[in-house]
Symmetry: C3
Amino acid sequence: MGQFETKLSEMGITLPEAPMPAANYVPSVRVGNTLFVSGQLPKLGETLMVGKLGADMETAQGAEAAKACAINLLAQVKAACDGDLDRLVRVVKLTGFVNSTADYGEQPAVINGASDFLGEALGDAGKHSRSAVSAAALPFGVAVEIEGIFEIT
Amino acid sequence: MGQFETKLSEMGITLPEAPMPAANYVPSVRVGNTLFVSGQLPKLGETLMVGKLGADMETAQGAEAAKACAINLLAQVKAACDGDLDRLVRVVKLTGFVNSTADYGEQPAVINGASDFLGEALGDAGKHSRSAVSAAALPFGVAVEIEGIFEIT
Amino acid sequence: MGQFETKLSEMGITLPEAPMPAANYVPSVRVGNTLFVSGQLPKLGETLMVGKLGADMETAQGAEAAKACAINLLAQVKAACDGDLDRLVRVVKLTGFVNSTADYGEQPAVINGASDFLGEALGDAGKHSRSAVSAAALPFGVAVEIEGIFEIT
């Protein structure tokens, strides 16, 4: 087990099998050393975390959903690296979409659920640029969707 | 006519002239072999496909709008490749924005209108990563807007 | 002072200190010559420009907010270039998110506040690809958030 997965294990996290896309596309595409990973949903095990921030979900729950998206992003990176997550050089960019009402303003705190997790798990390699915005709605009613760009070797 | 346009022709599709931007920007910018194409609207001929999913437009119509966006993306790629679409190596990433109500959840099925078309027209070169989310609203009330990243030679 | 900042000065604009991220991430990440800059908010000095287009803010005000985002994007590019903005080769891509009601359709005119400014300030280097969409809501209620991709040396 590599250094990143060892650290994840210490945090109590085992990466799931990389989720298959919900439709006719692929989980990630590599161009040079840049890996573009499809938007990931907050699904852990069989549980899809649905909800709308500002209506029926609290910010802290939204942050948990964002963390679930980040775990799935890492699962996709691992799959793209033939199972060796240590080939991840850097998380480059996250775009986080929050399913919220029109007057919700805590998108940064929600997406921190992903950012804090990546920072803790990956150290300097986890420091990324990002955007956090609200979507009017998300697939299947999920609370958060996050896509990512990664540098790999 | 190259292989990709021959296939499009068999599918009954002729790429339009690349649409001009709606404002003060350019249709695409190339960095190395990566081409970033501006968000394309579902305009075919003079018809701009407007509507809001979950309110006044069905998912199947939304998928048609997404296909129209994808056709315009290819028209932009062709223009960026000096008219030779066969210089397209790979569709890398699509981000699809669906104009929908707050409780709509079939964004993947809408954006499949683009993904299915690109897969059929381009084969392996059409397999891409993607995100599908809802926008609260879109320019001029269009139903879908899709931006894309492409690898070209 | 380099050519770009000289031009900005002629336009009456002094780049602010690059704003710190609102949460646990970094302002930008470089991969090769491509710089990914985090979503910037319309904050100039101590004023955060809040509002919702189609409800309590006019399109022209939204364009001013977009310009403020663009100024902050340039401040981040300058910081990533060790203070030398002339190392900016090209604005590659903007993604502009407009905080609007569900029936608002002038997103392009809002984001033109950023595009027109970059074109005037940077000339050919400011010509970029872009997308303009509405977000259901934005952090702290701001009117606009814009992220950018830049080519630097």
